[in-house]
Symmetry: C2
């Protein structure tokens, strides 16, 4: 009875956190809204479009204010922000992968990374490849974290994931610096 697009996205984010990506179903989502499944197609052309909107909404909610820092530190901040966003929602990494593979949404983080690199003086190819590499690193790491914490649940292991993330990120940033003809280790 009178929902808007934003209401549907809100409900979808809540449902995602409750039941996970696999159980995030058009029929189930309609149920939580007290509406018939077919009603959702008034707001979205299909499930793909809905998932793209959910991914962008989640990205937007986790956005932090920009700080003025050196380029390596900025890339680090963007990557940490992206990881935190993915970790903030059940199956967050899988959601981003799904949206990207459907070619709908979730493009902003990589664009920010590429911008930072170009601003730092990287050639176009290095900026493009570097941004992709960083994004894939973050996504892959968080995807592993979330599938592990899904299969564990009992023995608390806890914080070493963040440390591993930081170490690997430094590695990629070092490689990036080397490619740009700068000394490694500033990050």
């Amino acid at each position: 009875m009178g929902h808007h697009r934003a209401d549907v996205v809100d409900a979808a984010v809540r449902l995602l956190d409750e039941v996970g990506l696999e159980a995030l179903t058009m029929r189930r989502l309609a149920g939580t809204l007290g509406v018939r499944p077919s009603a959702l197609y008034h707001h979205f052309s299909g499930k793909d479009a809905l998932l793209g909107a959910v991914a962008d909404e989640v990205l937007d909610r986790g956005r932090r204010p920009t700080e003025v820092v050196a380029w390596q530190a900025e890339l680090r901040l963007v990557c940490v922000e992206l990881r935190d966003i993915m970790l903030a929602h059940r199956d967050g990494a899988a959601l981003m992968a799904r949206a990207r593979s459907l070619g709908v949404g979730a493009a902003e983080p990589m664009n920010r990374m590429a911008s930072a690199l170009r601003w730092a003086g990287a050639e176009d190819e290095v900026a493009r490849v570097g941004a992709r590499t960083l994004f894939h690193y973050v996504y892959g790491h968080v995807a592993d974290e979330q599938t592990q914490q899904q299969s564990a649940g009992d023995g608390e292991v806890g914080p070493p994931a963040s440390l591993d993330f930081s170490v690997g990120l430094s590695m990629v940033l070092d490689g990036l610096a080397t490619r740009m003809g700068l000394p490694a280790g500033a990050g």
Copy 2:
């Protein structure tokens, strides 16, 4: 009428190449074998187990003989082999991601990378993180390639993907070398 596990896996690989991962369905697979869907559950406990077996089969088929080379070159060979395997099958990257997220199969490439790193003298943490980073790089790159070539199809763009892959890989290997206290650029 008398299929074995291996027959089912073979048919699944063929069907994957024909119709893609999304349409690789238990019912459809049963159809190509001239069998009822329920018959498949005699060979596999469920779809997840089947997909894991498919991933491992594909990995095994693409395996190349080991060459004796420097560690950076060896890592490069493993990564190139992994990319070629994924590219050799429709939705190859998505298949590996799916298997990994289900915690079934597709673990061998990362193990080989970690071994190569330990053999080269890397500390345990660097070997673990390095292998993960390399695997995620390869997977992410190929996943992008395959979703792009899925949405393109018309204007031939072609080879630059391989070049981008090589550049990004060198970047990661440089970062790895730096972390190990070695000069970058040997790869």
